[in-house]
Symmetry: C2
């Protein structure tokens, strides 16, 4: 499994992806699932991937190979809008489906890919999409300013509680890390290192682009502080009226 | 969907079940999924159910109909151990499978049932089981002193953080309610009223047996306090070293 999270806030965008892949618990490995395509001062595009690794790696390879093209139907650097970017990514997923879909079916495997695609092109607004296996996609809005793919449930409650479009970028990044902490505690199939990218609005670049290893002091401190804080908060919850019946 | 949670602690057992059922989002209803079988001073058995409602209701009906039997192969009140109780529940699931399994398959529906079965019989120890659709089962141990069925992921992190076999019953009940709060925030298919049962060890009775409605003042206060506390805790997390790069 996998957990990836993208946020589209007034102040910019935050992306975090884990890097664990597994084909059964006896075949666990580390693979990058966060890809940054940046053409300085013109655009920054971030893609996070979940699902069948052979499928998503093919999608990324095809997109990378065609970056040099001037055809907006082929190159992420030639698309004129983020909507076109999402369509290009969707078409590329469909291309891999044509290549692999039937073969996967013959072997009893699902064609399974899910991608978070976000970014900004010069003079356009930031946009954040979730592209499905069928190549179609939805877009994040102010009502739900984030997208999750993969193992999404463990880490959703904290996002729902604290994230709004007004959340500052660093707060949002912390929220994302807490969401990953909850997920990693709950599910072996999600694990560090975590790839983190922060793109402030209208800068067309990543202000932060870092890989957080499990022994990273900030990550360790955050996990410890959050866990202790939760237990402390929990210990102060009032007793129910029916407690005395016991 | 559904969320049910059973805990087996040194001090006793705690059971909570939601009561939402849905066949698609346009067919939502309230059904009890928590059933208490108590024969005062002899035994208390609690069963929580998830999965196909027709299947789990049949299982409960058959178990109820046979309570008067003196045959330990048929009556929950005649079983000599909680292990026998779990086997009886499993056999009853299999009986419903024989009756309905093939018909469900013909209509493209899964035979899907999952039950938490816990309790204590006089002079025996408390035990907590998770009975599967196949009628087999696993038992909670000190390493993992709880069982979840249904929509389990949203509410797992808080349990993993605070619950140990040493947790007092009221603390455990609060932990269960916080776990339900996180789940209900994340998933429309889980909703109050919540049925809560607390059974202190060796008393062979329920000290608390209550239904918590959504407007219950304690439940509302707990949700508010927990939500505010989390946001407050979150706001005090330290900034990462890479924050200044922004």
């Amino acid at each position: 499994m996998t957990y990836c999270l993208g946020m589209r806030l007034n102040a910019g965008m935050v992306f975090v992806a884990d890097s664990r892949t597994n084909a059964g618990v006896d075949s666990v490995a580390t693979f990058r699932k966060c890809f940054v395509f940046d053409d300085p001062d013109d655009r920054i595009i971030v893609i996070l991937t979940a699902g069948n690794l052979a499928v998503t790696q093919s999608v990324i390879s095809l997109l990378e190979d065609r970056l040099g093209s001037s055809d907006p139907e082929r190159s992420l650097y030639a698309c004129e809008s983020m909507y076109e970017v999402a369509r290009l990514v969707g078409r590329t997923v469909r291309e891999v489906y044509v290549q692999d879909g039937e073969h996967l079916k013959e072997h009893g495997a699902d064609f399974n890919a899910s991608l978070i695609v976000g970014g900004q092109i010069r003079n356009r607004r930031m946009r954040l999409f979730n592209v499905y296996s069928a190549g179609n996609f939805i877009e994040a809005t102010d009502d739900t300013p984030y997208m999750q793919i993969g193992e999404t449930k463990y880490g959703k409650p904290i996002i729902e509680r604290v994230l709004t479009p007004q959340t500052p970028l660093i707060e949002a990044a912390k929220c994302a890390l807490v969401s990953f902490d909850s997920t990693i505690k709950g599910n072996l199939s999600v694990a560090p290192p975590l790839d983190l990218v922060i793109c402030p609005v209208d800068t067309l670049r990543a202000s932060v682009r870092t890989r957080i290893n499990d022994n990273d002091p900030y990550w360790q401190g955050l996990r410890k502080r959050w866990g202790e804080g939760l237990r402390n908060l929990f210990s102060k919850l009032p007793d129910p009226s029916w407690a005395q019946e016991e």
